[in-house]
Amino acid sequence: MTALSRRALGALSLLPGLATAQGAPRRGGSISVAQCSANRFVASAQTARHPYFTVDLTTRIPYNALVWVDRQMRLQPELAISWQPASADQSVWDITLRPGVRFHDGTALRAEDVVASYELHRQRNFASGQIQKIEAMADGRVRFSLDAGNSEFPYVLAEYQNMIMPAAPVETIGNTGIGTGPFRFASTDPNRIAVYERNPDYWREGFPYLDRIELHNREGQQETALAGLRAGQFDMVMTIDPRSVRNLQRDADLVVDSGGGGHHYVIQLPKHPGSPFEDKRVRQALALGVDREAIVRLVYGEGNGWVGNDSHLVAADPNFMAMPRLPRAEAVARARALLAAAGHPNGINLGTLYWSPQSPEVGRYFQVLQETAREAGLTMALEQRPADGYVQFRTGDNDLAKGSFHRFAMTAVGPRNPGISLFRMRGDFVESGHWRGAEHDRYMALYAEAMREGDAARRREMFAAMQSLLHEEVPALLPAGTMTFSVRRRHVQGFEFHPQIWSVRFDEVWRG
């Protein structure tokens, strides 16, 4: 990582466009960008400009949220310059808006716009349902009243759909495509192309550098996108498969950027009666038997991935607590011992693990997982399911009372703050494999306490305790994850990739 990457972008005190080896940033020019992530929100005709239907990689081209999360997963001010809880239990939050911000149509940003935007978000955005009431206060501040305490609420304000749009009724808000971002919509071709042009009145003085960005959607078609990059049609391709990195790095014309910790996978372990995962020792054996380092090494390449800790947290998160690392032989021996203790001295067949090609490397990821688990006496079959309809498939009817359960299956996990991530291991949710018992109750009690806790250091201790519980209990397996990658031609400068793809910014990109 370069010096550039360690800089907190949101901190405006720093000089814009820190000088690099290539020289000073230049104004003007245009770049063409392709993106490969399978994104279901790429718009259709009417609403191609709505923040709910733009590719989330590019959400922050035309829009801003109140808060931005930096590459180290820390909160940074965006349209809000400050935020603080207005109640001791962290259930009421007051936000102070940045003064002097104007929308693309020239109107000034007001508290009413935030209220109107969040009237939509609290109905639609998954993370914003906790908001009970939004009020514009007399002093221009905005007050959010939540259904319960949430010490990490500001992260919600940075979520990918929660952009600020000019006030309008819930039915029509956002359809104009007007935001406060560094660029504004010039034209859109739903599902294919969005063209943006420079917003001259952008609130970050002197930004953006580029006059124009053309975004081409190549979801699931990385080879096509890379061919376009090599043929000079694209200046940049975002969200590429980590194993393409090796070959791309050989090309002197290209620069590969890593965003740091990206997505990983949770393998849900059903714990219904009769399931092998009912026995904690089998789960522990699986956690030990899977060679997490081999997955990182073979599937992603050394340095392109990270070892998971069986929680939903990504390694880039400051709250992430690594698991103790054992030499491979010892881990296998302990896994076998655990299996023997559980009554499976000759190993155990875990049945079929279902997977879905949610990203290009999934197939190879699970083959390595399958092969390495076999070394520890844990055999399983692999079966692919189409990405389409997969959620319903892996969840199943999921009704314990009726005897129908969710499946032994994987799904992708995005990088989010502990408040959102750790909540996913709650017992009434399928990803925890319906974890029950005293340890679960302790875990949830710790969670509730942390959400009410205003002090960050104390919260961090609680999160660590929760992760220790997961290391011991293994309600679900989260073995390893990848970094996010993008590749650009050398003349594209000032770009930084991000672990959360919706938090990528183009403000400081320039053409050399």
Binding site: A231, Q233, D388, G389
Partner: protein, 317 residues
């Protein structure tokens, strides 16, 4: 002839009705509905059940299947293709341009492939069983045996990356003028043409060889009529007749069946739109595209019948 067209039309309506129903119920049995599949794992992980239920009710996804089916059929009868479930965009608007682009691609492909296929077939039929025929039919079989995605990726590697004379991927917009779009798509067109030449060439060659063995060709030969004249004026029109129906079906399949080419080159056609619509459970879009494809099949069949009638006076009444 008119009776034939009417009959074809009437039977086609039955087919279209069956098709509309099939598509509706088929997409209905797929797991999940438009809302479910529009949400990511992260979102589903965090969305309370009552919010989900409320949104389904808003989108009308909680109504019984029969009610939705009747509503859909009712709309069809009034030539209303409906709106998309999630974004409420009119379906007609969504499919119009991709359909135009697909028809254009199919048209250009046929226009360029037919003469080449014809030349190949004539050369092969002229020299049946000899080296030229073997080489030509061998090439046709190879062209037929290589998957489209391999041809497409190879063309890109050669003509866009190693020797960059053509664009690797299509960056034109869906609603750009056709001239702009087609000019941006030479490699996509080349990929479909290679397969088409192989297919059409084979059909024409077999037809021509069959006709060259016909009695009237022998009579002309025994009258001392030159061979080129026999082939061009007598055999060729006759040879095209039996292959015309197959060629028409092939042409129809070019409209909606070149999904792979559309994906590889990002050609804004109806095939890729269809795959997208299926994965998003946008039943009405799927329906509309399948109907458009079916209408293409019906139309091309009709064209083939008219072509046969033009070539074969025996079918005229």
């Amino acid at each position: 002839m008119i009776a034939l067209i009417l009959r074809r039309g009437a039977l086609s309506l039955v087919t279209l009705f069956l098709l509309a129903s099939f598509i509706f119920f088929a997409t209905e049995v797929l797991p999940g509905d438009a809302l479910d599949v529009s949400l990511s794992a992260d979102e589903i992980a965090n969305m309370p059940a009552e919010v989900m239920a409320r949104r389904k009710a808003e989108l009308g996804l909680d109504r019984p299947i029969l009610e939705r089916y009747l509503g859909f059929m009712d709309g069809l009868l009034r030539f209303d293709l409906g709106r998309t479930i999630i974004t409420r965009a009119p379906v007609g608007e969504i499919i119009a341009m991709p359909l135009r682009n697909s028809v254009a691609l199919a048209g250009v492909t046929l226009l360029l492939a037919l003469p080449v296929a014809l030349a190949i077939a004539m050369a092969a039929a002229q020299a049946k069983g000899r080296a030229l025929d073997n080489a030509v039919s061998g090439a046709a079989i190879i062209g037929y045996s290589v998957p489209e995605f391999v041809t497409g990726l190879l063309l890109i590697a050669v003509f866009a990356v190693w020797w960059p004379i053509f664009p690797a991927t299509i960056t034109a917009s869906t609603d750009d003028p056709l001239s702009v779009l087609l000019a941006a798509a030479p490699l996509a067109i080349a990929t479909t043409i290679i397969g088409s030449i192989a297919y059409l060439g084979r059909i024409l060659r077999v037809g021509l060889i069959e006709v060259m063995a016909a009695d009237f060709v022998e009579r002309l030969h025994l009258s001392g009529i030159p061979r080129w004249r026999i082939i061009w004026l007598h055999a060729l029109p006759a040879a095209m007749i039996p292959g015309l129906s197959a060629a028409a079906l092939y042409a129809a399949s070019l409209v909606s069946g070149v999904v792979v080419v559309e994906m590889v080159f990002a050609y804004p056609g109806i095939g890729a739109e269809l795959v997208r619509a299926v994965t998003r459970r946008e039943v009405h879009v799927v329906q509309a595209i399948a109907l458009a494809a079916a209408i293409c099949v019906v139309l091309f069949n009709l064209l083939a019948d008219l072509g046969i009638a033009a070539l074969d006076p025996r079918t005229r009444r």
